[in-house]
């Protein structure tokens, strides 16, 4: 199977994630879309690693996973605390930091 299909899949996943970030209001969903984009990128890295026959891309994927795990911890904590104070998980409601 040609590794290029993986690239196409990865592009599709990234697009879905990006659109999801832009159009969805719920913070949890936005958050999951961000994760989706990160994993799409991981897939690309692994694919290129396979194509080039080097391990660099796979190591990079591990790093991304580590960052994503940390991000989940911080992000979920923020979302939870916003939900507790405002009774809403909509990103449009949390717009106090502005002009």
């Amino acid at each position: 199977m040609s590794p290029y299909y993986y690239l196409v899949l990865s592009a599709a996943l990234f697009t879905i994630g990006a659109v999801g970030v832009l159009v969805r209001r719920n913070a949890i969903v936005v958050f999951m879309c961000v994760e989706l984009m990160l994993n799409a990128v991981n897939l690309t890295l692994v694919t290129f690693s396979r194509i080039n026959g080097s391990l660099d891309g796979q190591i990079m994927a591990f790093f991304v996973m580590t960052v994503a795990a940390a991000e989940v911890v911080v992000g979920l904590a923020i979302i939870t605390s916003i939900f507790r104070t405002r009774r809403s998980a909509s990103v449009d409601d949390a717009n106090l930091l502005k002009y």
Binding site: A18, V21, L22, V30, D92, L96, L97, K98, Y99
Partner: protein, 636 residues
């Protein structure tokens, strides 16, 4: 030029003592109120005694130019100004005039200002004036002259505005200051020219470039001379800067007598006579000086004839008499001394006239309108006598001061020769007639005729503190002129300073004939005034249906109106236009710039909407744009 020795080395005290006295009187404040006037009056008397000794000390020498070097004032690279005094004949006659007449007027002022709460302040200013005036005449370089020049201007301003609660006095002080400022610019430009061309401002250094072996061109001489003349015109109240002098009469009468008649206003004549070598080198500038003198002497006479204010009559008379002096010093080599002689004589008789006018004012509750005087000779005989002495002196009555000094100027004007000589001579002659006219008018309206007093005045003769100085000046008015020219007199004495006095070999009009003509003209003036004012009743209110000349004379020949229309109004328009430009133009640009930045940024910050998703969209857009550009570059 020899170095000062003996008592001459103490000449700097002439400036230092009155300056110190002024400092004491003005800084001690009320603590000095009790004795301030005594100190103030004692200072010039002491200086006069010293000046007499100084005079004889210099007179005893064969070389009558004494230099007293004090210290190096401004030593900057090539530019050196030394503070020094020049004790030469010209300076000494001025020192004697200033301290002598000054002493008399200071003593008079003790009585005149007796009821004034600010008498100490008055004497402080008065001593300040004496210090500045003595520095002016004693300095041996133009820069120090300038310091004295500004000093007397300051004292004059302070004293004109002495009654500062009166708006008219404050305005008159400002007017004098502005007119003097115009003149001072001329003097300062002259000094700058001297420095630019000669690199020095000392008299000896500058004059070395003129005359035999000098390298100054006529153009430079004319430029410097004309700028000096501008300065002289401002200080001496000469055309076209003459209008401040009559207004200066707002000050107390001793001020009018000392500063605005006898000494300060003659500083212009001093400056021109002192700069004789410069003026000798340029006939063009001398011609301008004579023209200024001739115009001013007629102007002063015509103005004096229409005033109802006694002091204003005398002020215009001062303007006119200084016009005579300018005419004399403008006639050039050989005539400078005559101008100075008239200056000294004028110092005597004009001081006498002013002091008697002050005595009249004192008696009439400070009212000065001659239409409400009349018949004062019976109640104020001493004042009347002094005024008559001054009157005889100024009109040139035979053997009084003016006869010796003023008539010499008329003679010298005719002796200039040619059409211009005749023209100047006739102007001077007409001036003599007009002088007789307005002085007779003042005499008749003040002292003779019916009493037209306001009901609440009770005139009385003044005390001896006032009439004694007046009497001395009256005697000097009668015999002073004769003393001044006796045996060559002052003219010969002045030779080392302004060159020998030369009489024309052949007179245009022979001397006895000219004297006769002058006396006839003067008699006509007196007769005219007697017919117009002596034989008729003088109305107590100013008559309104008068001739064009009288109307013009009452309004200073429209000189004030001219200054207002031509100088003041355009100046006001100009400054208003500048204010408009500043508010709308300069401020507009600055405010507009800040407003556009402020408005722009307040619109710009709306982009910070707080919506996370729109930030994400712009990040996505940015990323896509960057990638697109990279690809475009890669695959073009």
């Amino acid at each position: 030029m020899i170095t000062a020795h003996g008592i001459q080395s103490y000449a700097w005290l002439l400036v230092a003592i009155p300056a110190a006295s002024a400092l004491i009187l003005l800084t001690l404040g009320r603590a000095a109120d009790k004795w301030g006037h005594l100190l103030g009056a004692l200072v010039p008397v002491g200086l006069f005694v010293y000046a007499v000794f100084l005079f004889f000390s210099v007179k005893g020498q064969s070389n009558r130019k004494v230099d007293l070097h004090m210290f190096s004032w401004i030593p900057v690279a090539r530019f050196r100004v030394d503070a020094g005094l020049l004790l030469d004949p010209l300076a000494l006659v001025f020192v004697l005039l200033i301290t002598g007449v000054g002493s008399l007027i200071h003593i008079y002022a003790v009585g005149y200002m007796a009821h004034d709460p600010g008498r100490r302040r008055f004497f402080g200013y008065f001593n300040l004036f004496v210090a500045a005036m003595l520095l002016l005449v004693l300095a041996d370089n133009y820069l120090a002259v300038y310091v004295g020049w500004e000093g007397v201007g300051l004292a004059s301003y302070l004293l004109i505005g002495y009654y500062y609660t009166r708006p008219s006095a404050a305005t008159a002080g400002n007017k004098a200051f502005f007119a003097n400022r115009v003149g001072d610019v001329g003097l300062s430009i002259a000094i700058m020219l001297m420095f630019a061309y000669f690199g020095t401002t000392s008299f000896a250094g500058v004059f070395g470039h003129f005359g035999h072996g000098g390298n100054a061109t006529t153009g430079v001489a004319t430029a410097i001379a004309l700028m000096l003349l501008l300065g002289a015109c401002g200080k001496s109240g000469q055309f076209p800067l003459q209008t401040w002098l009559p207004d200066a009469m707002e000050g107390p009468t001793p001020v009018s007598a000392l500063i605005h008649a006898a000494t300060m206003v003659t500083a212009g004549v001093y400056l021109i006579a002192r700069s004789a070598p410069v003026f000798d080198a340029t006939s063009a500038a001398r011609t301008v000086v004579t023209i200024v003198g001739a115009i001013t002497l007629l102007y002063g006479c015509i103005n004096g004839a229409g005033q109802d204010d006694l002091k204003r009559v005398l002020a215009n008379s001062t303007v006119s008499q200084i016009g005579y002096m300018f005419l004399a010093v403008g006639l050039g080599p050989g005539v400078y001394a005559i101008g100075i002689v008239h200056l000294l004589g004028h110092g005597f008789f004009k001081a006498a006239l002013f002091l008697s006018a002050g005595s009249v004012m004192h008696a009439m509750n400070d009212r000065i309108d001659m239409r409400r005087f009349g018949g004062l000779w019976r109640v104020m005989p001493i004042t009347f006598f002094v005024f008559v002495c001054g009157y005889l002196a100024i009109i040139g009555f035979p053997f009084a001061t003016g006869f010796w000094t003023k008539d010499k100027i008329i003679e010298a004007a005719f002796d200039k020769g040619g059409t211009s000589g005749y023209l100047l001579g006739i102007i001077a002659l007409v001036g003599a007639g007009l002088t007789a006219f307005y002085m007779t008018r003042a005499l008749v309206m003040t002292f003779l005729g019916k009493r037209r007093w306001e009901p609440d005045v009770h005139p009385h003769e003044c005390g001896p503190v006032m009439w004694l100085p007046m009497a001395v000046l009256a005697v000097l008015s009668l015999v002073g002129g004769w003393l001044l020219i006796f045996g060559g007199g002052v003219q010969e004495w002045l030779t080392p300073s302004v060159g020998p006095s030369v009489e024309a070999g052949v007179h245009t009009v022979s001397k006895p004939v000219l004297t006769a003509i002058t006396l006839v003209v003067v008699a006509l003036g007196i007769a005219g005034a007697w017919v117009a004012f002596g034989t008729r009743t003088i109305p107590e209110e100013q008559p309104q249906n008068v001739t064009v000349v009288t109307r013009a004379s009452r309004r200073n020949l429209y000189a004030d109106a001219f200054n207002e229309a031509v100088l003041m109004r355009p100046g006001q328009w100009f400054s208003r236009a500048l204010v408009f430009f500043d508010n709308r133009g300069v401020d507009g640009v600055v405010n507009g710039l800040s407003a556009s930045f402020g408005g722009g940024s307040s619109r710009f910050r709306r982009l910070q909407s707080g919506f996370v998703r729109s930030y994400a969209l712009s990040m996505l857009g940015g990323t896509v744009a960057v990638i697109a550009v990279l690809l475009a570059v890669r695959f073009q």
